[in-house]
């Protein structure tokens, strides 16, 4: 069975494009956090760039970075996860329908509103006729893409696979989220360790990974296992234990456990519970850097991969007081709104 190595990374985040979590403190979050857009002009022709959705551009940029870092040319799969897809163009088209009473519409926004636009545009740019998938499953959209890529490398004879997660913010969607308390109200305290209020600090971004069955000097980490599910069949502790057991590990073998805590008091109890399984383990968090969105957990994987590659554990992501003794096995635990649970196990290589 082939293995699955992370050989290249690329991101667009709400932080400065040159921000390095190992070097600096991240900018504090607001209730709404827009991605800091890099310059696209070397990558996308200006005329095209103007028409393209933000998520598509972020995806193309992050994919390009990941592929060039891995020096990956021949791809056998492009797999993208996105919670809300091209929501900006969806809003644009829907508002045009409503405002013009279904008249005088042009197709551009509709065409670009399709969930698979990012994966399609990447394939089109690369002339890549290979396997092409888009997952849209809320908070486990990215993990779905990761799982598929993992499975393609392990069982389906593929060597090089591009996977990624991308989500964009659109104005009306944000205001709808405000109405239902899904996002923090402006000015509200954003506390990731002891949240007291409902809602998340909303963000956006793209994170892509060049995965390969070939281990290189420059490989970041190995993805050992991925599991996603809608609800726990047994208690949470047994579920984590069983997952680790599949790789021959127990709780003590985990050097860092990374939580997708998102500053929402409603979503905190799950993480509080899970953290009790790891009292002596270093616990990390990352959404104070990435902000919260369906595919923010892709940044969590990026962070884990970088921690393993650099052999450093930045203080700014420490969730508890424990420092890891070694950096070999990292477990990521995530959920969204009490469902879309995922476990991802990565190890150093």
């Amino acid at each position: 069975m082939s293995k699955c190595y992370i050989n290249g990374l690329g991101s667009v985040t709400v932080q400065d494009p040159v921000f390095d979590v190992f070097e600096a403190q991240s900018q504090p979050l607001q209730s709404l956090n827009k991605a800091q857009q890099p310059s696209y002009k070397d990558l996308i022709a200006p005329a095209m760039s103007r028409r393209m959705g933000k998520g598509v551009k972020m995806g193309i940029y992050a994919a390009d970075k990941a592929l060039s870092e891995a020096q990956m040319h021949e791809l056998q799969a492009v797999i993208v996860g996105t919670g809300l897809g091209c929501i900006e163009d969806s809003e644009k088209f829907l508002e045009a329908i409503i405002e013009n009473d279904e008249q005088f519409l042009t197709p551009t926004a509709f065409i670009q509103s399709t969930h698979n636009t990012v994966a399609a545009q990447i394939a089109l740019r690369l002339g890549c006729k290979a396997y092409n998938f888009t997952y849209v499953n809320g908070a486990s959209s990215f993990e779905s893409a990761l799982f598929d890529g993992f499975m393609q490398l392990r069982h389906f004879g593929k060597q090089n696979v591009l996977i990624g997660g991308v989500d964009e913010i659109a104005p009306y969607t944000f205001s709808m989220f405000e109405m239902v308390g899904k996002v923090k109200q402006g000015g509200e305290e954003i506390n990731f360790k002891q949240p007291a209020t409902r809602g998340i600090p909303l963000g956006e971004g793209a994170h892509f990974f060049a995965l390969s069955n070939e281990k290189k000097e420059s490989s970041y980490a190995e993805v050992c296992d991925v599991l996603l599910f809608n609800a726990f069949k047994e208690d949470e502790e047994t579920a984590v234990k069983n997952f680790l057991q599949r790789s021959g590990l127990d709780f003590d073998a985990i050097d860092v456990v990374v939580f997708g805590v998102n500053a929402d008091v409603w979503q905190q109890p799950f993480y509080n519970k899970v953290s009790t399984f790891f009292p002596k383990t270093a616990q990390a968090y990352y959404q104070h850097v990435s902000a919260g969105y369906d595919t923010a957990s892709a940044y969590g994987l990026r962070l884990a991969a970088e921690i393993l590659y650099r052999g450093q554990y930045p203080e700014t992501v420490q969730y508890n007081e424990v420092r890891p003794q070694k950096l070999q096995n990292i477990l990521l635990i995530n959920q969204g709104g009490g469902t879309d649970f995922s476990f991802v196990l990565v190890k150093s290589c």
Binding site: V78, G83, G85, S90, F93, L94, E95, I97, E102, Q103, L105, T106, P107, F110, I111, S113, T114, H115, N116, A119, A120, Q121, A123, L124, L126, G127, C128, K129, Y131, N132, F133, T134, Y135, V136, N137, G138, A139, S140, S141, D148, M151, R154, H155, F156, Y172, S175, M176, M179, V180, K182, L227, L228, F229, N230, A231, F232, D294, G337, T339, D340
Partner: protein, 401 residues
């Protein structure tokens, strides 16, 4: 050893029926479900024809026995209805007694409710409960919850090929031992969003759609949900299941040609079919029936026809069933998977309605009458925006390993 992928249950709701049997009857009686739009108001209601399920949302809620405070959109309700049928048909008592999953697909998700309440949300808090029902994954979680499923749940959205990819992923997970049982398929409700979207692309027909006909004018949108239960050899044996058919092969490729149009020579379609043959370990001539994507747009049918001519020395009996159901987008491949399995089980090739004259580019003539025929393998194609091309091959027996 890799497990075979047995199909042990099916469920469907489409414009031609709310059960597998009703769908079969309509297909063999040449009774299409294309009509004018009735369930919601649209400026275009009199100019287009659609494959609409003639049940209101209230009726669907009742049918499902949902409580009044539910937040199911039409997409979720259709999905839950068809998925529950499939689970029941498979004879499953406890869905979670093995490692079970749901892989669903949708293109509109909860858009049908979003577009209805979009401008009302601010002043009508009573509708705000639907805000969280908009995203595609919500429909799958609702269906999983309705089925009582606890396990792997994911959603695929690759436009009109979505459900084929859901079936493909599910088959791969069974083969490789990640799951023992998985409910796979897709659901999409008609919405103003898609009606207007396809309208701006000028590929909607104002009359009944005519797949593979020289005079074809475009597609009729439809709505449907369809699901299959896939189970491993081990489960089939242990539960003494009646196997309806097997997923024998699958292929996925990208046309990498244009965001919405298919290439001239049907490259993506050709590659998807080629891969599916390799996976199934069979030769093209072993296919007895092709259930074509056949949307009846000028572009699709030309591109698909060329791909068929490229891959087959002699194109086997083929038809598009979209003249019955309309194009049901993300659900289409699951609807057509159900039809492909029925074709295999009952030895029948379904008719392609409204065909009069072959396209001038080539001499491809679809089957226009229901015909009895012993079938071993049936191939089903699905293609979508974004160049997403998928092919599934179903077999009557599981001897392909």
């Amino acid at each position: 050893m890799r497990s075979r992928v047995a199909i042990t249950g099916m469920g469907i709701i489409s414009a031609i029926g709310s059960t597998v049997e009703e769908n079969f009857d309509a297909l063999v009686s040449k009774r299409p479900g294309i009509s004018f739009l009735e369930n919601f108001s649209s400026r275009h209601a009199s100019e287009i024809k659609v494959g609409e399920i003639k049940r209101t949302n209230e009726e669907l809620q009742q049918l499902l026995g949902l409580p009044a405070e539910n937040t199911f959109t039409r997409t979720s309700m259709l999905g839950a209805y068809a998925a529950a049928q499939a689970v029941k048909a498979a004879g499953i008592k406890d869905l979670n007694d093995v490692r079970a999953g749901l892989i669903s697909s949708t293109s509109v998700g909860g858009m049908d409710f979003t577009e209805k309440h979009y401008r009302q949300y601010l002043n009508h808090p009573e509708f705000q409960k639907y805000i969280e029902s908009h995203h595609a994954g919500d429909s799958s979680n609702k269906i999983a919850h309705y089925l009582g499923l606890k396990g792997f749940v994911s959603t695929i959205s690759t436009a009109c090929s979505s459900a084929a990819n859901a079936i493909m992923l599910g088959a791969g997970m069974i083969e490789q031992g990640y799951l023992d049982r998985v409910v796979v398929g897709g659901t999409d409700a008609l919405s103003k969003f898609t009606v207007n979207g396809f309208k701006t692309l000028m590929i909607l027909s104002d009359a009944d759609n005519m797949p593979f006909d020289q005079e074809r004018k475009g597609l009729n949108l439809g709505e449907a949900a369809a699901y299959l239960v896939l189970e491993s050899d081990e489960v089939v044996k242990r539960k003494k299941r009646e196997v309806l058919a097997y997923v024998a092969g699958y292929g996925n490729a990208n046309d990498a040609y244009h965001q919405t149009a298919s290439s001239e020579n049907g490259e993506g379609a050709y590659l998807a079919m080629k891969e599916a043959f390799e996976k199934a370990g069979i030769e093209p001539h072993e296919i007895g029936y092709v259930n074509a994507h056949g949307t009846a747009t000028p572009n699709n049918d030309l591109s698909e026809g060329r791909a068929l001519l490229r891959i087959f020395d002699k194109v086997p009996a083929f038809s598009s069933t979209k003249a019955f159901t309309g194009h049901t987008l993300a659900a289409a491949a699951a609807v057509e998977a159900v039809y492909s399995v029925l074709a295999l089980q009952r030895g029948i090739v379904f008719p392609n309605l409204n065909f009069r004259r072959p396209m001038e580019e080539f001499n491809l003539i679809p089957q226009t009458e229901p015909v009895s025929k012993e079938l071993k393998y049936v191939l089903s194609n699905s293609f979508g925006f974004g160049g997403n091309c998928s092919t599934l091959i179903f077999s009557k027996t599981g001897t392909h390993e």
